[in-house]
Symmetry: C2
Subunit: 236 residues, 2 copies
Amino acid sequence: MKISELSAETGVSVPSIKYYLREGLLPAGVAVATNQADYGEAHIRRLRLIRALIDVGELPVASVRNVLAAVDSERTSLHDAFGSVMHSLDAGSHVVDADVDAAVVEVRRWIRHRKWAVEATAPATRMLAELIVTLRRFGFPAQMNEFDRYADQIFPSCEFGVEYARAMPDRTVAVETMVVGTVVYERAFAEIRRLALEAASARAHVRARATRPRGTIRRSGVAPVLRGPIGRDAPG
Amino acid sequence: MKISELSAETGVSVPSIKYYLREGLLPAGVAVATNQADYGEAHIRRLRLIRALIDVGELPVASVRNVLAAVDSERTSLHDAFGSVMHSLDAGSHVVDADVDAAVVEVRRWIRHRKWAVEATAPATRMLAELIVTLRRFGFPAQMNEFDRYADQIFPSCEFGVEYARAMPDRTVAVETMVVGTVVYERAFAEIRRLALEAASARAHVRARATRPRGTIRRSGVAPVLRGPIGRDAPG
DNA sequence: CGTAAATAGATAGTGCTACTATCCACTTGT
DNA sequence: ACAAGTGGATAGTAGCACTATCTATTTACG
């Protein structure tokens, strides 16, 4: 397969493919001549994975490189490769904050209570702690036991996902499946939650309207995105 | 409160605050002199909201402006304001793709089946459709009924969140609460799912090891992020 | 009172990221 | 034969989120 065919197959422009080659995200094709190389199925899969990580997972190119390095490191067990991926996903600078440190302790205790085998270095722990602190600063009670029900429900589906990926014939395909499943299902669950929130809001809205005199609330649908009082420009 | 105090209170640098003022994210303080303005509690809250949307929600500044415009638009009902926020969250360019169009129909049918009152224009619908298509391209079965269990579980918690926000005394505070709750809890759920995935992977790993001869798999913890065979530089 | 520091507001500049564009020396399909 | 495509290298660009600098004030402090 030529680079133009690879481009057509995946919808990624030729210059972008060249860029990914340069950046070491995509392995070079088999050189056929000084200016001719052959790409295969693995390149298509890899390119799709790159786009999924960038578009869906919103990972920077540098993180994608790290993730792919873990995927490709044959010496690494499936679990360890997956761990590397998780750590790359949550990479990012952390604040130094006493409240967060305290929340980290809470999160760790909760994880222990759940009997989850999670690395001490897992960045998700501190991420979650930061989120807890943010919620509290906005007045939310935000206790860890709020998440028990969710954890009870989500864990089996995670186990299923892990088994599904591990059942793949090829190690690389297994890791890729795990990575894609992690990133894409995560977004899918988020979108479903947004739909549920809109539905819940609609219900509450209708209920509230029923208890008020008619006409006190706009009857139209979702408001257009307006420039409010602090908008930069005057409405055209 | 002076701008330097506002900065100290929120941890946002004075130049950044000026930038947000310029960009219309933060309303100006009350002018006391040609070069003196007074900021209040609302500015602290607003600034925290801006940081939450940017840091946690990873929204671009332009989207933050739209979200805040909806928050501030007093003419808009709580539900409509929230709808605007949801739409801003999911803003982004969409691909033209027959597979996605077909998936949109599936998603819409599923939403109807759930009896969720969701605007036809809700971007989350198409987002979810795109994710479904991505999953299928990677070989996942990805049927909508997979999400029924999750939806059953998440909807009550969304209703609770909506009620919690609507119970706020002030309309602006109510919308702010809804926005923060949406964005921050979404991330929190994602982090918990990542922890659950790691735990599930660890379990599967241990189970698999028990059925293999000793020493065939590395015993260490999570692999360091290595430069694999396609890494750009040689290992230092 | 005098002076260093801070402030609002304006304009210009910076650092980073993820591409694009252009070149060149070749090779391939028609 | 020759336009179109290719690999490889180098340079340029667009957009974003700040950051820096400037001016004309005004205030806080010794």
